[in-house]
C-alpha cells in the first residue's frame, strides 16, 4: 500500500503512515480550522489499510498541542487501531508527553480509557 505522508504546518501535524517502513506517526500541533476536513484523508487511508494490515502496527503520537475538535478525530483514528486489535493483529498506540505536561498526560489517560486497544503513555524529555 502507498504511504500517506503529510508534512506539518504551524497548525497541523505531520502525519506519516508508512507500512513498508513499519512507521506510523502523528506529531506536532493539531489546531486546524476544520479538523474533520483535515483528518478525513488520513482516516480514509487507515480504513483501506485495515483491509490488508501488517501483523504489527505501532502508532506513535507526539503532539505538542491539539484542539478539542482534533481530539474527536484522534478518537476516530484510534478506533481504526482498535479494530486491528480486535481482528487479532498486534496494534499499539504510543502516546508521548513531555515531562511536566500533566494535561497532555491526562489526555493520554482519557484516550486509554476510551480506546479498547493498548495505549502506552510514554514520558519524554523533549519531542
Amino acid at each position: 500500500m502507498e504511504l500517506y505522508n503529510l508534512e506539518s504546518t504551524k497548525r497541523t501535524p505531520k502525519i506519516l503512515f508508512n507500512p513498508s517502513q513499519e512507521s506510523f506517526l502523528i506529531s506536532g500541533r493539531s489546531i486546524p480550522e476544520n479538523s474533520i476536513d483535515f483528518f478525513k484523508p488520513a482516516i480514509d487511508w487507515l480504513s483501506e489499510y485495515l483491509q490488508e494490515p501488517l501483523d504489527e502496527t505501532v502508532l506513535e503520537v507526539k503532539l505538542e498541542y491539539f484542539n478539542t475538535s482534533s481530539s474527536k478525530c484522534l478518537v476516530d483514528i484510534f478506533r481504526k487501531i482498535e479494530m486491528l486489535h480486535k481482528n487479532g493483529k498486534k496494534a499499539v498506540i504510543k502516546w508521548y508527553f513531555v515531562e511536566e505536561d500533566e494535561d497532555m498526560q491526562e489526555s493520554g489517560e482519557d484516550f486509554k480509557k476510551i480506546i479498547k486497544a493498548p495505549v502506552e503513555l510514554i514520558k519524554t524529555n523533549k519531542f
Binding site: 504551524k10 497548525r11 489546531i31 480550522e33 476544520n34 474533520i36 498541542y65 484542539n67 478539542t68 475538535s69 481530539s71 474527536k72 478518537v75 513531555v98 511536566e100 505536561d101 500533566e102 494535561d103 497532555m104 491526562e106 482519557d110 480509557k113 476510551i114
Partner: protein, 178 residues
C-alpha cells in the same frame, strides 16, 4: 465586566497583550505567535505556558466558529473582539469579549453555569463521555471547548453579558490560569 473596564484593565494591570479588532483566520495565526513570544519572555513553567496557549486556542476557535454562523457579523462591527492577556499574582488571566446575538445568551449562560458547578473529576468525566459518545458537527468541537477551558484553567469561569441593543450583547469571559 463592562467594556470600559476592559480598557481600565489595560492601564492598571500587567498586560502582555491587548487587542481590539476583527476576528479572522489570519488574526488567529498572528495572535497565537504573539502569545507564544510574550509567554516565552515571561518564562513560566511549561505546564502553565501550555495551559494558557491551549485555553486561548479554544477560546479563539469558539468565537471564530460562532461568528461564522452569524451572517451579519462578517460585515459590521459585531465581528470585533477584545482580547487581553495579563499577568496575575499566581499566573495569567485571559480576558476575551465578543458580540453575541441576544437569543444565544440564555443558552450560553446555562452552559457555563452548568460547567462551573462541576468539580475537576466531574469535568474530566463529562469530557470523556462527550469525546466517546457524542458526534461532532462540522467546524464545531461538540461542546468540548468550554469543558476543556474549565478543566485546564482549574478555576471557575467568570463571565458577563452586557446588552448593547435589541439584537446584540457583549459577552466577556475572564479566565484565570494558575
Amino acid at each position: 465586566m463592562q467594556i470600559k473596564s476592559h480598557y481600565q484593565n489595560i492601564r492598571d494591570k500587567d498586560t502582555l497583550i491587548a487587542y481590539k479588532g476583527k476576528m479572522s483566520n489570519n488574526f488567529f495565526n498572528c495572535m497565537l505567535s504573539e502569545v507564544e513570544d510574550k509567554l516565552e519572555l515571561e518564562n513560566p513553567p511549561l505546564k502553565l505556558q501550555k495551559k494558557v496557549i491551549n485555553i486561548i486556542i479554544e477560546v479563539f476557535q469558539n468565537i471564530h466558529h460562532y461568528l461564522k454562523h452569524v451572517d451579519e457579523s462578517q460585515t459590521d462591527k459585531k465581528n470585533t473582539i477584545i482580547f487581553l492577556l495579563c499577568k496575575s499574582n499566581k499566573g495569567f488571566t485571559i480576558y476575551v469579549g465578543n458580540y453575541v446575538k441576544n437569543d444565544a445568551v440564555t443558552e450560553l449562560r446555562e452552559r457555563i453555569d452548568k460547567i462551573n458547578e462541576l468539580n475537576y473529576d466531574e469535568l474530566r468525566k463529562l469530557y470523556r463521555f462527550k469525546l466517546e459518545n457524542e458526534s461532532f458537527h462540522a467546524g464545531g468541537g461538540a461542546g468540548l471547548g468550554i469543558i476543556d477551558i474549565a478543566r485546564k484553567s482549574g478555576t471557575k469561569i467568570s463571565y458577563n453579558f452586557e446588552v448593547i441593543n435589541t439584537s446584540y450583547s457583549f459577552f466577556s469571559l475572564n479566565i484565570a490560569v494558575n
